[in-house]
Symmetry: C2
Subunit: 282 residues, 2 copies
């Protein structure tokens, strides 16, 4: 996985959207947030699922991994806008609306959103597969997927929701894109619809587990150790607030156990690839 | 064309993105600006190109026409945002950030951007064709296409550019999506790559002609007659400002003549369909 992700960094640098013009900084801004780093977690899931099913599929998977990483980057750029999180920094660099202006941040996000579909259309894969990948990304990232999750999260910020509503939000805001990464990787690796759906469902559980784990880290660890602000006491809808710390930890352990069992039941090579991609998380 | 566009309105109403949840207005906002009307000009070009080449292709073209119309709608929603045009009304109704809030306007635009690719992926067309359509929309609407045009237009607002720079902007901001509409319609109608490119080039010229024509209308007609504000004297980069009214009118006549000749050289049915779609414009 380490080598695959190094190859992915090179591929990403060489395949950022090109937009030459007399604009002084638009083209630079398009790639800036993607180049600033990040865990490449969604890309790793695409690569793990694909190569775990077909060891020769790494090159075919690169363009798909780039698509999901640029799509994720678009969502971060827009989440950081003044109207939403109004964040000054992301991935240790100033956000685009701070480095440049709000217009550039909105438009760079818009461009990366569309460009991720171009990455899929240009992938070295059969047309049937590419159409499936476009539909998966658009459904899970779009109107009833990630964007709906973000809309709900913004709308109900500071208001108390019940557990089922909070799960509904997180399954959309983060779960669906993680699930889509695994499902898309599965198709690149040659999986049939049933197997790809099995990895999708695993991804939905994985996304929920991450949210519970993040909420526990936020409640229990100091900012310096985590690398981002913690103790966000105004978050009325964290799993820790809703369940209490003890119950949240029990739930996290239960979800982690379920995930380990699901990985253990997969074919050996895929099991190994996913364990590698998820090392330190579960 | 009138019947086709009526059928398109019905299709649009029935195929807006669904996003049921406990959000009080997100799903309504997603469809609101598309339902508010508009000339459906890009949809008409898709339908004209497709049915002009294959009279039986109207149903196959509907999903493609919807894709480009929702994509265009996303761009209008984002152009109207406070950071860009800060517009209060669009298509005679309040803009989304006025009706609801800026978060909803940003997210509805994001959702429609992605959803337009879902419309293409779900179209009743061969996979090979759908992959081409996804690439055309993403290239012409995305990073080096419409979004680049918008970025330049915002960046140089109020500054004087030269004619070639102004043409560069308009070819991207409006030309490429109009050209893409014709190219996509051509593929739906069964055109080969060369013929689809011929309609694309025609569309680029058409987009430029529209901009010159709009600038002349803006400079010479009264607001009440046009239905939107005119005499935007702060627009330093209109063709009328750059060329003078006389030269702009001569250029418009020359471009219109070129367009009429291009249409006249097309197969009869396509010529008739395009003349129908462009009635009143050229």
């Amino acid at each position: 996985m380490k080598e695959l992700l190094e190859a992915f960094e090179t591929y990403l640098k060489e395949n950022l959207p090109k937009a030459p013009s007399f604009h002084p900084y638009y083209e630079k801004a398009l790639g800036e947030m993607a180049l600033a780093g990040g865990k490449r977690f969604r890309a790793a899931l695409v690569l793990a699922a694909a190569t775990g099913l077909d060891a020769t599929s790494a090159q075919k998977a690169m363009s798909v991994a780039l698509a999901i990483e640029l799509f994720h980057t678009y969502s971060l750029i827009h989440d950081d806008l003044p109207a939403m999180d109004n964040a000054d920094f992301r991935r240790s660099v100033p956000t685009l609306h701070k480095s440049y202006d709000e217009v550039t941040a909105i438009l760079a996000g818009d461009a990366l959103n569309s460009h991720s579909f171009l990455c899929l259309a240009n992938a070295p894969l059969p047309s049937e597969t590419k159409v499936k990948l476009v539909a998966i990304l658009a459904e899970n990232g779009g109107a009833a997927g990630m964007v709906l999750g973000q809309a709900l999260d913004c709308r109900f910020e500071g208001q108390t929701l019940d557990l089922s509503q909070v799960e509904f939000i997180h399954r959309r805001k983060t779960g669906k894109l993680i699930a889509a990464s695994l499902q898309m990787g599965a198709y690149v690796g040659g999986a049939d619809d049933d197997f790809a759906k099995r990895l999708y469902d695993f991804g939905m559980d994985l996304g929920l587990y991450f949210q519970i784990r993040d909420d526990i880290i936020d409640a229990t660890q100091e900012s310096a150790a985590v690398g981002k602000p913690t103790h966000n006491d105004d978050n009325k809808n964290s799993f820790v607030t809703l369940l209490g710390l003890d119950e949240a930890q029990k739930r996290a352990q239960k979800e982690a156990q379920k995930l380990r069992e699901a990985i253990g039941s997969l074919p050996n090579a895929l099991c190994a690839a996913l364990n590698d991609a998820l090392r330190g998380y579960i």
